[in-house]
């Protein structure tokens, strides 16, 4: 330590190095992410200070009486599903930012304090925008948390009644509710480096079955020509909840994200009666185009294929009773 005290104070180094180090750290962090994530982070940093729009609608009565199947879109991949008396929520994202840096465009369409209970909380994968610790802390804990295989190491003690870690085709059954993890095509990891060992782990879709109704939640996925047909062969699905962004305006999307056309193919492959598009409008999805473009594109494509009346396009905060 004596040697330490002999060395003069280097003021310039003190001033410059933290800035350089911070930039180097951010560059290193970003370089380990996909170009899609890089665009989102850079765009989000540019939005610091901008206000978040209020949700177009707000869910005032999250749990309805005498309902067979109802859905509410809270924003992004967060969907509140009610089948008879059972309540499910998918990938809850109720915070103002995703992963600390990515600010949302539109506030969530649900005040979680209005939720008296959630029977099942379903997590599709461990990315920040789908597995939000702050959002899970806002939810009632009287139900079961379902997570994909590999996610247990990323799951704090939230206090849920139970946690079920599921790999594709695993099924849990509780009080007549059957939840099956189904394969989708995405990627996982949460902190960059772990992407490398979470190659076939940490992401899933789900099929919920209860009292004669079945809902498919795709989470985040790219299109795959076989996976969704297999899901369609195994289940008689009433509602498919499918992401429609980010994706190219033409084609089926990337390997890990569907475009509106890819989402429509998934809808047809699983053979569902209705489709609820999600995973758009809520944040920056990699392009500065009109935030409503994915849903407009989906509607045009669905109309061309005679499927428009089966597309349930909800506003953020809108609730719909299907049956």
């Amino acid at each position: 330590m004596d040697r330490l005290t002999r060395i003069p104070h280097l003021l310039m180094m003190t001033l410059r190095l933290p800035v350089l180090a911070l930039l180097a750290s951010l560059m290193l962090m970003l370089s380990s992410c996909s170009s899609y994530v890089q665009r989102i982070v850079v765009r989000s940093i540019g939005r610091i200070g901008e206000p978040i729009d209020p949700a177009p609608k707000m869910i005032t009565t999250p749990i309805l009486e005498n309902t067979k199947l109802a859905v509410s879109w809270v924003g992004h991949a967060t969907v509140l599903i009610q089948i008879h008396e059972k309540v499910f929520i998918t990938d809850p994202l109720l915070t103002s930012a995703m992963g600390m840096l990515v600010k949302r465009y539109v506030e969530p369409g649900l005040n979680p304090a209005l939720l008296p209970r959630v029977d099942f909380t379903l997590i599709s994968h461990i990315h920040f925008d789908h597995f939000s610790y702050g959002s899970l802390d806002m939810l009632p804990k009287n139900g079961t948390l379902a997570i994909p295989l590999g996610a247990l190491r990323y799951t704090p003690d939230f206090g849920f009644k139970d946690i079920k870690e599921m790999k594709p085709w695993d099924m849990i059954e509780e009080e007549g509710v059957q939840i099956t993890a189904v394969p989708v095509q995405h990627f996982s990891g949460r902190y960059g480096l772990d992407n490398a060992w979470m190659t076939d782990l940490g992401y899933t879709g789900y099929v919920i079955e209860y009292r004669g109704y079945a809902v498919f939640f795709a989470g985040d996925t790219g299109y795959h020509p076989e996976l969704f047909k297999e899901i369609g062969r195994r289940f008689k699905i009433d509602l498919a909840i499918v992401p429609i962004a980010p994706g190219s305006s033409s084609g089926l999307g990337s390997r890990v994200h569907t475009s509106p056309l890819g989402a429509l193919e998934i809808f047809k492959d699983v053979g569902a009666r209705y489709m609820l598009p999600m995973h758009y409008r809520t944040m920056f999805y990699g392009s500065d185009s009109n935030p409503s473009e994915p849903i407009d594109h989906l509607r045009r494509a669905a109309a061309d294929q005679g499927l428009l009346e089966r597309i349930i396009g909800l506003e953020i905060g809108e609730q719909r009773i299907l049956f």
Binding site: R3, L10, L17, L152, I163, Y191, D194, W197, L201
Partner: protein, 177 residues
Amino acid sequence: MKRLLIAFAFFGVVASARAQDSATGNRFGVWFPFQLIPNLTLYSSSAQSGFGFEWEVTPLLYSFGMNKQISPWYSLIVEPTARFTGSIELNAAGQIFTTKLGNSYFAYSGHVMAYVPLIERGEHLSLNLGAAIYRVADQSRVFKVAGISTIFGIAHFNIKHSPNPTTWIGSLEFRIF
């Protein structure tokens, strides 16, 4: 101190090997090469400022914030969730500090640290408290450590204090996994 470091490393390797399971893929094979890349540390005291590179290893960590279905004990590979959701850890590090061109020196240290989650289960902000022993130029000094961690455990700002003679050191450390 050397014996202690060797014991930590040995225990860590054994414990990590035992912790491998099919649900987490080839974690060690990916993680280990990345540990050869040092963490960047910037520091400033009343006497001097500079930067350093640090190779850090966590032989043992007890997480009290994780779900009860997994073991609270971690070794070597510690997901940031496990550390910042609340934990106590032993870690050891080797550092090369540079104050100006041509003036670098080596140090090694051992730490006992506790992490207390403050925001978003500690991913956004956690409180760091602990103690460290540094050995530099054949002299050892004990420091009390307090600070914060943010950006998913990538950035750490710590203040270290040691009496006799009173020394305050502020450090900004960047750590990836």
